[in-house]
Symmetry: C2
């Protein structure tokens, strides 16, 4: 299913073997340069297909240090494809004077200095809504897992404990729970659809009230948290949302409270979260993201009420295929000066 | 939250202490007898509250063997409360000539000889729709878990492997998957609501086509399985459905196929399921039920593509409370000859 409609690796290899080395060089020279930083997982999965269309500059395959690699190609790099694992700082932007377009493999753009991009006239496009359904599925999957103890029960059965200890603790029902959605962009909206089918009582907060949403709106997360026992974090990370979910918010949710985070780790004050979990001041968490990935607070490793996935909410074969198509379409569009999809503007636009 | 609105254990204990022993006996004698077999988990959770209303006969607290216990109380037992863990056979029914009503804590009634009950004029009531939402939530939770590898990812992170091996295998998207629902009673209907919100392509089979359902209907599970990659089993266990999900059905679903079973273990041919999983002829399973609970096939214990819960789909505090209320209401109604809720008739009615 993974490579349907794309030339297979074997076929590409055979074609490459038919070309002599000068032809190879000529072909590569004819393709537009794309600097790849990170590299994004989707690049690794679709590398052949990307390389059929673009001359991909891959610093991780080069023996020279990154800053030297960038200087070497500075004059020829107009487009970049990057992931969240590589911060696009002023320093990097200044090393690439010809850069005009950055495609990121993520929805979040907190790793890119958007202000500097805007100043320099560099366009930025993200993954748009490609991942929204998958991220919403993961948010709801984590919520069901925490409330219904699915992962913990799976470990219990797999460790052979069902046979030994007949009783397993009661879980909690989804229906009737008051769930607050923090941020109702594409992902948050998909989350509300799923929560509705589960019979949850939904409310939300976002920068502005959405006229097409009938769920109760609260102007900030503090007010939302006093009216909910569960929060699902779906907003962007920025100066306003950094550590927005702190101990006060957690205590508002109460001892049965649950937080699910599929956005960015640093939206939650992780130290205070660990403290609340260890002290039993909050009921449980489902976390796909962490403040210092791939580091995870060691206190969480033994807790059944904590369900953790390795920043994996977007990691499906179907999302990867969708992202590959969007990025290729955007790079193609950029090089012929056509409109981009999912172009990102900074907040102060 | 668990015992709100019910007399607390301490208060009951104080009241009991105030009574002298003759009064105590008189009070217990005044309450109608209810034989409790199993015992159901909900009985254990709400024992005090049950005992306030009924004189509960508890064979597991008695030193004499069950058959002798039943003979001793044979003349006074008109009502019974039982769980799936205690088969209500012809033998047991014959030992209780005055029995007129059985309340079971389960939805399934395959542990009760319904034919004999009908012949003897014994009414049977099950848990009805009390559990439907919780079971549907678990079905969908298991499906998300298998497709998105939630439990496996949680184990991966908790074992500290994220830091060591940076890549975790890609998962599969829910949206667009062809999901067949086997049995559309209360639980199956709740499952379809949730699958719709997840963007799945739904079809179903049941004994008869449901006029109010617009999803494609297939007259049997064989035809359903040729049109799906995922099956969710929500039907009753009986002679027609025993081992209905066999190797042919599994092979029809294909190597990416997934089966979720929240109904009864014996609806699936477990031996053939294990064989298909071990050989990679099916993609994964989410199982809440097994053929010989609490025994689980040892081949499944190490497989990431297998997510298992210990017959736990109904095990929430909220469902228990709902069941307690229904059983008490039914026992009350039985003793004053009022209509019962969730009365069960055998198929040949």
């Amino acid at each position: 299913m993974f490579s349907t409609n794309y030339p297979s690796r074997n076929l590409s290899a055979i074609n490459m073997e038919k070309q002599d080395s000068s032809q190879k060089e000529k072909t590569a020279d004819d393709l537009p340069n794309v600097l790849v930083l990170g590299p994004p997982s989707v690049f690794k999965a679709y590398e052949r297909q990307f390389s059929d269309k673009f001359h991909c500059l891959k610093p991780w395959e080069s023996a020279i240090p990154l800053h030297q690699f960038l200087s070497t190609h500075a004059g020829s790099v107009q487009a970049m494809f990057c992931s969240v694992s590589c911060p696009i700082t002023t320093d990097i932007l200044q090393k690439l004077p010809e850069l005009r377009f950055i495609a990121t493999s993520s929805v979040g753009v907190d790793h890119i200095d958007l202000h500097e991009c805007k100043r320099l006239g560099v366009k930025v496009a993200n993954a748009g809504s490609v991942f929204s359904e998958d991220v919403a599925d993961m948010a709801v999957g984590l919520l069901i897992d925490v409330l219904r103890r699915v992962s913990a029960a799976n470990s219990f059965v797999k460790a052979g404990l069902w046979h030994q200890k007949k009783d397993y603790p009661l879980a909690h029902k989804l229906g009737g729970k008051r769930v607050g959605v923090v941020g109702v962009g594409n992902i948050g909206l998909e989350v509300t659809k799923r929560l509705k089918a589960l019979g949850c009582i939904i409310s939300y907060t976002s920068r502005t009230k959405k006229l097409d949403l009938t769920f109760p709106f609260f102007p900030n997360v503090l007010q939302l948290s006093t009216n909910c026992e569960i929060l699902i974090i779906c907003c962007a990370l920025n100066d306003q949302t950094h550590h927005m979910i702190d101990k006060n918010i957690m205590l508002n949710l109460g001892k049965q409270g649950v937080i699910v985070n599929v956005a960015r780790g640093a939206i939650v004050n992780e130290k205070e979260l660990v403290e609340c979990l260890v002290k039993g001041e909050i009921g449980g968490v489902g976390l796909d993201v962490f403040e210092n990935e791939p580091d995870v607070p060691h206190e969480l490793l033994k807790l059944d009420k904590v369900v953790m996935t390795p920043h994996h909410a977007v990691m499906t074969q179907e999302s990867f295929r969708g992202l590959f198509e969007v990025v290729v379409r955007n790079l193609d569009a950029f090089f012929v000066n056509k409109p981009l999809r999912f172009e990102v503007y900074s907040r102060d636009d």
